[in-house]
């Protein structure tokens, strides 16, 4: 079956029940998408499938046939990063950094759907993404900064 990752055409003929997470990490060697719980509980593995945030640990390879998958590695274009990536750096969001690929992917899909979210909208959209280091208030601020147009995409 065929699908795309970050614009690149992929064909896959392995086990259709393999979670996309392990395809990305082990077979495609794209480790930006993180393994946190394997059970849809933490959001570390969040990617976009046709623009929608999904948990790649809960998404079978069968499910991605014919879709466009975007991972953290493909969120920006080359050196030009997504506004959220810049905002994350400006606000020094990451502590250990491990959850942040998933946080950024989730936030990007929130803003794509709802460019001006309320604080409650942010809480609701981001609730599935755990940050054990506790960077939540900086995540909120970064999403706000981008929604308010204070921070734009660019180079880092």
């Amino acid at each position: 079956m065929d699908f795309k990752i970050n614009g690149r055409a992929i064909s896959y003929d392995g086990d259709g029940e393999m979670p996309l997470l392990w395809y990305l990490r082990d077979l495609a060697g794209m480790t930006g998408t993180k393994f946190g719980c394997g059970a849809g509980l933490c959001g570390a593995c969040t990617v976009h499938v046709d623009g929608m945030a999904v948990r790649s640990c809960q998404t079978w390879m069968d499910d991605v046939e014919g879709t466009e998958v975007t991972t953290i590695e493909g969120l920006g274009t080359g050196d030009m990063l997504h506004a959220l990536q810049i905002a994350w750096a400006e606000n020094n969001v990451p502590q250990c950094g491990y959850c942040q690929s998933g946080q950024i992917m989730q936030a990007a899909s929130l803003l794509a759907d709802n460019p001006n979210p309320t604080d409650e909208d942010i809480d609701m959209a981001m609730s599935g993404n755990i940050c054990r280091c506790g960077t939540y208030q900086r995540i909120k601020k970064s999403i706000r900064d981008v929604a308010d147009g204070k921070i734009k995409g660019g180079k880092l």
């Binding site: 392990w22 020094n92 250990c96 950094g97 491990y98 690929s101 054990r132 280091c133």
Partner: protein, 748 residues
């Protein structure tokens, strides 16, 4: 501490890092007391094990501590770069591998900055002076005629300047000035110390290119997952190898060596499946359906064990501190207040489950591990693979959180054993279930506190007893409950001036692996202390902040030895890091000022306060809670005042305090690991919830910088959080929570 720097032969680290030519300074290896070293090697300036300067002027900083979110790999280089007056963009940050020459690499106990500040500062300053001297000689002027600034040496008289690279070769021929001859920069001239320099890994973090232990990939690597005995000390009894091998991608099924006490950091045994990807390995392991017998600890049941802890509280007292005569004071008191507190087992649950990769290269073993201490990986792995520790080359990858779990490298030994067996590189992948069920748990504890109040509501006696299985039992199975070091985390430096004070421990034995978790036994001790001050305040008709100030009393330095305590002060002398009551009071007052503590609150709202010194840093917390009519609890805001002495990177100090509040809120609201039939009942974030975005308070942090000596930062923010929350609940509702987690106690 003495600072000595002397000539030694050039170190392997530089060859390993591929750096040829330049200047290298070796400063003393504080923790293990090794000597510093320098070598004039092929023109490279070696100022320290931690610093060399290449001939092109590139500054190589060897960061021997790991990065797990606390910011050490940015903060440590800031110290050298500042004294060296280096250009940040010309620094080559080298993550050092495990080697005794770096001294203590165990990134634990909030020690990286506080233990290595002097060493790193000396290295930077010594190298700067050597460059200045080389320049002075070249220009034929005296050393005080030149000055280093922004990677250049300036001639004060002529205004002429030249890049550091011009002087590296000559500087490398000079002796390294010792600590008595080194001059440090004035505070006003600092460029990096005290500045919020951005994390050196930032771009990698936001683009997904950073490499954590789980992310390591090697050519031809196999992926391993394992099922370990669910009860500590249990054994594998059977499994279906054929079924596992029939799964596509499975390469081998391997029995791990049988575990034997003492616990130490040894792997637990069990069954591993090797495959070409993690998914296949997991499927294979499921098909193998390994079975286990329980062994000695099969009867462990935390609900039953709690009763044993209360018996220990009622039973024999092991005294750790005694001042005055508490029993007489209690007998003569106008009011006696008594309360029991309970804190369950807790788990670190770092976002990244443990992982380790091992690859044999001839007779040596290379490893990439998300470990807190690469030297401890060497020591733990060596006996399992028939090597000496020095034959194991360990790189600490980035750590996706750790909180103490990853200083126990049982998982690394598994990877090494399997790589040896397979003859191929192996990555040992722990799943979240493995992480939850095979941790080194925070201990389980019971405490009883008694206070005597006189007619004015003044506290005349404080009697405190704690009982919990000790961490040290994992090293020495004869250990029967709290040891002095664990008592010292919160109870032997109780900062109260009350004339009668007594601290006792009760005996207890462990039945799971007990380990240290962010702030360790301060967690339960600060919970009892902070709660009981609030209880006494209410009993005495006072505000809780006033009760704290009254209990703490005069400005003074406390020496617990005077009351017979064996107090270790987080490995610091009391001269360098005194227990200073003035600093404790100052953070308390600051938190009150920031939060408006004491003001009228709307119905259902409450403010709670607590303060605690740990890891030689002082932290006060005020927390606001809101309790709905149905008992639903939320924690919208928190205020933190922290005095960690010098804050090398203020933004990271703030971030650690923000994160500590969230970590502490998770402990207070949800944290509970339980065991039944010796098995841990929680297996993922559904059974062991941690705070999510909507549950996490917005935190405001103030840093009070009162000294020039840095204290700990990663841990001390945690202890005061839980009591501040439960005190706030009391303020809002009159409902006193004495056992954690709060869980359903509000709605039950």
């Amino acid at each position: 501490m003495t600072h000595m720097v002397e000539n030694v032969s050039r170190r392997g680290v530089l060859k390993g890092a591929g750096i040829i030519g330049g200047l290298v300074l070796t400063a003393p290896l504080v923790s293990k007391g090794l000597m510093a070293a320098i070598k004039k090697a092929s023109g490279q300036l070696e100022a320290s094990n931690y610093l060399s300067i290449s001939e092109d002027g590139t500054v190589n900083i060897y960061i021997h501590r790991v990065e797990m979110g606390q910011g050490s790999r940015t903060g440590l280089p800031q110290i050298i770069a500042d004294e060296l007056d280096a250009d940040w963009s010309r620094i080559n940050f080298v993550a050092a591998f495990g080697d005794q020459k770096f001294g203590d690499q165990n990134t634990d106990g909030s020690t990286s900055i506080r233990k290595f500040y002097d060493t790193f500062r000396h290295a930077g300053a010594a190298a700067r002076m050597m460059l200045e001297q080389a320049a002075a000689e070249k220009w034929g002027v005296s050393a005080d005629q030149v000055m280093a600034k922004e990677h250049r040496i300036h001639n004060k008289a002529t205004g002429k300047s030249a890049d550091y690279s011009e002087f590296v070769a000559a500087a490398a021929e000079l002796p390294v000035p010792d600590a008595t001859k080194v001059s440090y920069k004035a505070k006003a001239d600092r460029r990096y110390i005290g500045k919020s320099v951005r994390n050196i890994y930032m771009k990698d973090f936001v683009t997904g290119s950073s490499q954590f232990g789980q992310d390591v990939r090697r050519e031809g690597m196999l992926y391993a997952v394992a099922k370990r005995p669910p009860v500590v000390g249990g054994k594998l009894t059977g499994y279906n190898k054929e079924a596992a091998m029939a799964v596509k991608g499975v390469v081998d099924v391997v029995e791990l060596p049988v575990f034997e006490k003492p616990i130490m950091f040894k792997p637990l045994g069990g069954l591993a499946v090797l495959a070409t990807n993690t998914y296949a390995a997991k499927k294979g392991l499921e098909a193998a359906a390994p079975e286990f017998e329980a062994g000695d600890n099969g009867g462990y049941d935390t609900a039953e064990y709690e009763k044993i802890l209360w018996q220990a509280i009622d039973g024999e007292d092991v005294n750790h501190l005694k001042r005055g005569d508490v029993d007489t004071a209690l007998a003569n008191a106008v009011t006696v207040v008594e309360a029991d507190y309970f804190v369950p087992h807790l788990h670190h649950a770092p976002m990244e489950p443990p992982a380790a990769t091992a690859e044999w290269q001839g007779d040596t073993l290379r490893m990439w591990v998300c470990c807190q201490d690469p030297q401890s990986v060497q020591d733990t792995v060596a006996p399992y693979v028939g090597l000496k520790p020095v034959q194991i080359h360990v790189e600490a990858t980035l750590l996706g959180g750790a909180f103490g779990r990853k200083s126990k490298p049982d998982f690394a030994a598994e990877a090494a054993i399997l790589a040896k067996h397979a003859g191929k590189p192996v990555k040992m992948v722990w799943t979240r279930e493995d992480d939850m069920q095979h941790s080194y748990y925070h201990t389980i504890s019971a405490q009883r506190v008694k206070g005597a109040l006189d007619v004015d509501g003044r506290v005349t006696a404080w009697k405190h007893k704690t009982a919990f299985p000790s961490i040290f039992e994992i090293f020495d199975p004869r250990t029967e409950g709290p040891v002095a070091m664990e008592m010292g985390l919160g109870l032997l430096d109780i900062p109260f001036e009350t004339p009668n004070l007594q601290v006792d421990a009760g005996k207890a034995r462990g039945h799971v692996r007990i380990g240290w978790m962010r702030s360790v036994t301060n967690i339960q001790h600060a919970f009892a202390l902070g709660s009981f001050v609030d209880e006494l305040a209410h009993a005495g008709g006072k505000r809780t902040d006033d009760m704290w100030l009254e209990l703490i009393g005069s400005d003074r330095m406390i020496d617990p030895a005077k009351d017979g305590a064996d107090y270790s002060n987080y490995g610091e002398t009391l001269d360098r890091h005194p227990v200073d009551t003035a600093r404790l009071k100052a953070v308390l007052k600051k938190a009150v000022e920031m939060s408006g503590y004491g003001k009228e609150m709307p119905k259902g709202h409450g403010l709670g306060i607590s303060v605690h010194r740990s890891f030689v840093t002082y932290v006060a917390n005020v927390v606001e809670v809101v309790v709905g009519d149905d008992g639903r609890l939320s924690v919208p805001r928190a205020w933190v005042a922290a005095d960690c002495g010098l804050a090398v990177n203020p933004d990271r100090v703030k971030a650690q305090m923000e994160g500590a509040v969230v970590f502490g809120t998770s402990i207070a609201l949800h944290g509970e690991i339980t065991a039944k039939d010796g098995r841990i009942e929680q297996s993922n974030f559904d059974g062991y919830p941690v705070c999510r975005i909507e549950e996490s308070p917005h935190v405001e942090v103030a840093i009070l910088e009162t000294t020039g000596v840095p204290g700990g930062v990663g841990e001390p923010g945690v202890p005061p959080v839980a009591p501040a929350i439960t005190n706030a609940i009391f303020a809002a509702t009159g409902n006193r929570i004495r056992r954690l987690p709060i869980g359903h106690q509000m709605t039950a």
